[in-house]
């Protein structure tokens, strides 16, 4: 067994919804993340998939300690990071870095690439003494496939894919152990997306990084991940190895999600059974009682409204699923015919 580098236990993040200006009154909570547990092993990639509003980006922010959890724990090598502050927190931040989605807004347009990638060294001077910083930055540029000569250029002089490489170089600067990637390729064109995915894989092999890879594109997640977690409305509904989730999903939501992915092969278009979900995702302010997916689920029974299904291994399956009626179902596999 490899060690757990991050352990998340019953993580909850609620945002208050208030009314009034002077006399603020809390009238409810957005239950963005509502009781999520998982672990990340050293050197592995955990994919997190789900549709917008399912809480995957909030999860990233809490993992980074950019937000304090409402309750629950995030343990980094056994140490609860949500309790840390001051210098202990700063030391820990070196180990967990973030790559953001939008390479157009996540880089300060007034800073040169050298300053952007070198800024982490200002905060953590112990990593690189002042004199060696520029050469370190050039090394990083080279590592992510950019020309080290471009150290004095500004972000607008780069294309989207190159900017994402800058974001990755900045995340790598402090030699972290974990990188949280929040939709790192979704803003990029297909051909550029593939280049960045290859880069992420190369860096993982070189530095033994662990990734939490958050994305809504199921084929991208499948390509990069060892294990995959599926989220719906603040809850994790299914978690397992990449094979278990994509080949043998047992939660109806996972099944619907997989069946809706368009397969880039026109010969499959007629023998593909799409599970059509009706309606939209309910509001996270007042999620349905019991199972949160029941309002869109074709299997829903009375018990689904009364009992919250726990994320646990169920009979006839090999991985945890949060459905009272979890069972395997044949899904037309994505890209299998290729």
């Amino acid at each position: 067994m490899t060690e757990n580098i991050i352990e998340v236990r019953d993580l909850v993040k609620h945002y208050p919804v208030t009314r009034g200006v002077v006399f603020k009154k809390t009238i409810g909570h957005v239950k963005a993340v509502d009781g999520v547990s998982f672990e990340l092993k050293a050197g592995e990639t955990l994919g997190v998939v789900g549709e917008s509003g399912c809480g995957k980006s909030t999860l990233a922010r809490v993992l980074m300690n950019l937000e304090r959890p409402t309750s629950g724990h995030v343990l980094y090598k056994g140490q609860d990071i949500s309790r840390l502050s001051g210098s202990a927190l700063r030391r820990l931040r070196r180990q967990i870095q973030l790559v953001m989605q939008d390479p157009y807004t996540s880089l300060n347009p007034r800073m040169t690439v050298g300053d952007l990638i070198g800024e982490p060294f200002e905060i953590h001077p112990e990593v690189a003494p002042r004199g060696s910083r520029r050469s370190k930055v050039k090394e990083l540029l080279d590592l992510v496939g950019l020309n080290p000569e471009h150290i004095n250029r500004y972000p607008h002089q780069f294309s989207g894919g190159q900017r994402q490489r800058i974001g990755i170089a900045r995340a790598l600067a402090l030699r972290p152990e974990v990188i949280v990637c929040d939709e790192p390729v979704s803003a990029l064109d297909v051909s550029i997306q593939a280049q960045v995915m290859n880069l992420l894989e190369k860096l993982q092999a070189e530095f033994g990084l662990s990734y939490v890879f958050i994305a809504h594109d199921l084929s991208v997640v499948r390509h990069l991940s060892d294990r995959v977690a599926v989220m719906y409305l603040g809850k994790m509904v299914e978690i397992g190895t990449e094979d278990e989730i994509y080949e043998r999903p047992t939660h109806p939501y996972t099944q619907a999600l997989l069946s809706a992915v368009p397969v880039p092969d026109p010969t499959l278009r007629d023998n593909k059974a799409i599970i059509r979900l009706t309606g939209d995702v309910p509001s996270p302010v007042s999620p349905p009682s019991g199972c949160r997916f029941r309002t869109r689920c074709w299997k829903a029974q009375d018990v689904c409204a009364q009992e919250v299904p726990l994320l646990q291994i169920r009979p006839g399956s090999d991985h945890p699923s949060a459905c009272h009626f979890a069972e395997r179902r044949e899904i037309v596999p994505t890209h299998e015919a290729a």
């Binding site: 064109d189 593939a194 084929s219 880039p264 092969d265 026109p266 010969t267 890209h335």
Partner: protein, 347 residues
Amino acid sequence: MSDILVSEQSAPGADGSGRPSGRLLEVDDLRVEFRTRDGVAKVINGVTYHVDAGETLAVLGESGSGKSVTAQTIMGILDTPPGFVTGGQVRFHGKDMLKMSAEQRRRIRGEGIAMIFQDSLSALNPVFTVGFQIAEQFRIRRGMSRSDAKKRAIEMLDQVKIPNAKGRFSNYPHQFSGGMRQRAMIAMSLALDPEVLIADEPTTALDVTVQAQIMDLLGELQRERQMGMILITHDLGVVADVADRIAVMYAGRIVEEADVYDLYAKPAHPYTLGLLNSIPRLDEKGQELRTIKGLPPNLMNIPSGCPFNPRCPMAQPVCREKLPPLLQIRSGRASACHFAEELVNRD
């Protein structure tokens, strides 16, 4: 120089009343440039395609390939300046729209050709109700009374499967979810029963389960009305699901045109092949993705010869010198590559 395509015979005299079959909309050797402070960007360099009644043409390309600018030129909503049409024709029922008066073009918009935009939040006016924005068309274009227009608008909302259409009529766009806004936009663009619908990345901003709903709905409405549809997208999965024919664009030109099955089975242009190879596939998990090296060209400085040559794994000296024209290689298939035959014939 006009790239000879399959669209030799147009449908002359097919204008007028009724629903004539045949060539509905033809774009012929269209050229558009953007004159900016930094120089002239040649955004569209001779695009030729057509769409017939009842068929779906997918225009596939990455950002900057000119697929949306072509659509804007067809609709007559190109920002001028900086955009200028420098050549070519856009024929609707055989008549060149680029030579029409603003009033004539306005009459075609909505009734002849309508468009769905990618970002429904910015395409809908936030200070008017959704219902008003749909009903407005019936009032102005059909001269209906306020109450009749409202009735028709509610019918439209109902047709695009917005639950409780009556109650939703007086909601503002921000009160709709993303999927519902996209439905409302579809309702709006179909209100005047257009013959051609241009859908510019209609589902890019949506989640997959909602995307499936919207694409189903579009397909259903298209079949019902025998509309011609131009689907602009970069998503190879969506294209495989719904398109009849595909035109692949690169640097403002069509580089390949083919039937959907032919294109996925045997691409006849190295760019198309590169795109198909870049999609993560199950049987290659753990392996490096085969990427297209380099970046799309700067449109102010397009490489000489074939614009794809600096990124092409098959490039030969001839590719740097001669621009390959879009030539028919089989019936219904065209490619703008000097080595198209070799590509199609190899295994």
